[in-house]
Amino acid sequence: MIAAYIPPEKLGTPPMSESPWELLPTASNHAASLDWLYVFLTAVTGISFVLVIGAMFYFMWKYKKRSDNDKTSPLTHNGRLEFAWSAIPAVFLMAFFIKGEVDFVRLSAPPADAIDIRVTGQKWYWTIEYPGRPVAATVEVEDGEIAPLLIVPKGQPVRLLMTSKDVIHSFYIPAFRVKKDVIPGRYSSVWFEAIEEGTFPVFCTEYCGDEHSSMLAVVKVVPPEDYEQAVLEATTLEQGEGETLEQFGEKVYKSFACNSCHNLDSSVKVGPGFGGVYGKTESLTDGSSLTVDENYIRESIYQPNAKVVAGFTPQMPSFAGQINEDQMNAIIAYIKSLK
């Protein structure tokens, strides 16, 4: 349940190419073969276009009306020509089909030794979980925004096992040329072997509602020897040196995507705003009322639907088992600091 959604201009990944004419970086094992086919397609269709439109322009010039007494050709058909222009394209089309099919089959069959990483889509963020790590991985991008982070070792096959908690999303890494829909109620997967170090953007490519265009993530390819350390760092959420409890709390607030439902002022988003909420007296859906204190905040995070404030629906997921004691203290301190 980690990572927030962020405006695209703040993702901060370096531009994938210098000009629109260039192809994207070939950062995975699938990319070069696909690019070859893409260039081949462009060459064949480009030549076809020039031939067809060239003939059109030539005829347009050659057979422009000269006078009212023009006579035109009685030609109505030509069996050989028609056969040729059906058969020759068919041969090229078959070539495209076969090459596309071969690559597609490779794209669909992950090797047995691939590292499994879990990806969960939810409006409007990705949760990326590594085997044996309690916290999902995030990275700080521009202006302190937090993005989900997929770390993969260079030269080692990785399989992403993906599912969605709500609607259909689609996980797309352009630099790797892989994409797969992420569907609620079942698993789908993609696999790749990264071959180029660097940071690349991840997009959601199945329309999923308001913040569809902010459902971004970053993929970072690291040398295999740095992989474990990088995962460890990205999946650790602890108070840093010289960091106040409130500053750490803000990090927790962003990392767990609290901001997708709770604003920092008192305005309502999906849930109540956090500004000035501490110490406030709220009436609940059952008619009773209470004053918001540390224990109520703690309960609302671990058992969110136990006491719901009037005017809201019980729809927040529980964070029990995800937010630990230190993080809880920090987020309570952070909420208290918001006026």
């Binding site: 201009e9 994938m16 059109m56 006579k71 040329r177 569907i183 199945e206």
Partner: protein, 547 residues
């Protein structure tokens, strides 16, 4: 065939002036309850043109918002509603009914030499069903609007709070209008051809409308069932598509594309028909490969039913299904290629008149060829994995639908405008409009192929900074395109008021609609025309054997 209809007095209106269908009856009621296919065609034309304007303005709004990568003047939620309405209105209220129902209604009986369609009252009913559908879809605007995209994908369309039921009902009702028009056309073509008009003497426009009508009848019920299931799921909470209730969201996509892929051919086939007419008449040449073009229309109609899965290569359908659908998709490319080659070959040895309709036909050859060729990229499995749901798809789709259908539609409007209203338009303005449409359109959408291969996803209202330049070029192009389209509107409207009077046959065409007065009399022909030859047998064709 022209000579023949002269003999039977089909065109001779000078000695006994009879009022045209426009003036035969007067008053609002004479339009509202008319069963004249020509008047119904014009009412469709007015309605579809209105929705083209509405959805077009929405498109300009979208492109303007996309001028920069950040939010400019719309919220994300508003952007999503605007692109949904743009797609839904363009598809269901403009492009599907535009050529068949508006232009087809006017032209089909005239071309066949018939007095009317087979079921004139059913024809009027289909228009009013269309109006109800339009009203329903417009009501969604009032009722909190719609943000699902025109495809209504589940489970998003199940969960969103916007007016999904209202909108799907609109599309559902529009389907019935489409089916009725289809039934009417099929029966008319089978039963009401003029004496002597064998299947091989039918204008290719009729072949295209006929193939379209077949798809309308066979595919539209599937859409109706799908949308109905969606409504049932939302209202009665029966789990059909929603995984939370044991349904399958991908099943919806199969159902939806089973209709919507053939529907793409409902949109483009009539455009093919128009182009066959424009190119022959304005180059004074017999069509090249009549049989191949006619049969390829039918072949496309048939194959279009078994390629729907190419919309779903990355949806989680089985890999084997993906491979089969990719193969079948390549099969549909061949008849389409044959058509383009045949049109170009028709120009050979002609005497080309550069009228506005011909300009549009040539623009069509350029844009549609690009649209068709880029479809090959998307049919190729591995390449589609990369390009799926990016701007490449957006560009390809618009090259076919706008560069194909809309350009053909505009060319057809200029071509048949004199027949519809008995007035000539201003050729200079017409040609300038064609030029503006050509430049604006290519600027708008050619850039989007590059955005696509660079990975820019569709349906994003904000985007990474690296995509900004191409988006700006595209937006400027869309403004030029808009100016071109407004010029079309202006040119055609002032032609009604101040255009020169059109003769019965300003293009010296041979097909039957030109063998009666412009505008035609109420019952189309004074006497039933008799057909003795091809509709492309122009007097200029040199039969001396010298060619």
């Amino acid at each position: 065939m022209a000579d023949d209809s002269k003999n039977t007095d089909g065109k001779n209106t000078d000695d006994k002036p009879e009022p045209s269908y426009l003036t035969a009856k007067r008053g609002l009621m004479s339009w509202l309850v008319t069963v004249d296919h020509k008047r119904i065609g014009l009412m469709y034309l007015a309605a579809t043109a209105f929705f083209f304007l509405v959805a077009g303005l929405l498109a300009i709004t979208l492109r303007t918002e996309l001028y920069t990568g950040q939010q400019d003047f719309m919220s994300a939620a508003t952007y999503n509603k605007v692109f949904t309405l743009h797609g839904a209105i363009m598809t269901f209220l403009f492009i599907i009914p535009s050529v068949p129902a508006a232009m087809g209604n006017f032209i089909l009986p005239l071309m066949l030499g018939a007095k009317d369609v087979a079921f004139p009252k059913l024809n009027l009913l289909s228009f009013y069903i269309y109006c109800i559908a339009a009203l329903t879809l417009v009501l969604t605007l009032v009722l909190g609007s719609l943000d699902t995209g025109w495809t209504f994908y589940t489970p998003y369309s199940k969960s969103t709070g916007t007016a999904v039921i209202m909108a799907t009902m609109g599309a559902f009702i529009a389907g019935f209008s489409s089916i009725l028009t289809g039934v009417n056309f099929v029966v008319t073509v089978h039963k009401m051809r003029a004496p002597g008009m064998t299947w091989n003497r039918m204008p290719l426009m009729i072949w295209a409308l006929y193939a379209t009508a077949l798809i309308q009848i066979m595919a539209t019920p599937v859409l109706a069932i799908t949308l109905f299931l969606l409504v049932i799921e939302r209202t009665l909470s029966i789990g059909i598509f929603d995984p939370a209730m044991g349904g399958d969201p991908v099943l919806y996509q199969h159902f939806f594309w089973f209709y919507s892929h053939p529907a793409v051919y409902i949109m483009i086939l009539p455009g093919f028909g128009i182009i066959s007419e424009l190119i022959t008449v304005h180059s004074r040449k017999h069509i090249f490969g009549y049989r191949a073009i006619a049969l390829s229309s039918v072949a496309i109609a048939v194959i279009s039913f078994i390629v729907w899965g190419h919309h779903m290569f990355v949806s989680g359908q089985s890999e084997l299904a993906g491979i089969v659908f990719s193969f079948l998709t390549f099969a549909v490319a061949v008849p389409t290629a044959i058509k383009v080659f045949s049109w170009v070959a028709t120009l050979y040895g002609g005497s080309i008149r550069y009228t506005t309709p011909m300009w549009y036909a040539l623009v069509f050859l350029w844009t549609f060829t690009i649209g068709g060729l880029t479809g090959v990229y998307l049919g190729t499995l591995s390449v589609d994995v990369h390009l799926h749901d990016t701007y490449f798809v957006v560009a390809h789709f618009h090259y076919v639908m706008v560069g194909g259908t809309v350009v053909a539609f505009l060319g057809g409007l200029f071509h048949w405008w004199p027949k519809m209203f008995g007035r000539m338009y201003n050729e200079t303005l017409g040609k300038i409009s064609a030029l503006l449409v050509f430049v604006g359109f290519n600027l708008t959408f050619f850039t989007q192929f590059f955005l696509g291969h660079q990975g820019m996803p569709r349906r994003y209202y904000a985007y990474l900074p690296e995509y900004e330049t191409l988006h700006q070029v595209s937006t400027i192009g869309s403004w030029i395109l808009a100016v071109g389209l407004f010029l079309v509107l202006y040119t055609l409207i002032i032609a009604l008021k101040s255009g020169e009077r059109a003769p019965a046959n300003p293009w010296q065409a041979v097909s039957l609609e030109w063998q009666t007065a412009s505008p035609p009399i109420e019952h189309n022909f004074h006497a039933t025309p008799h057909v003795t030859g091809s509709p492309y047998d122009f007097p200029e064709i040199d039969k001396s054997g010298k060619h």
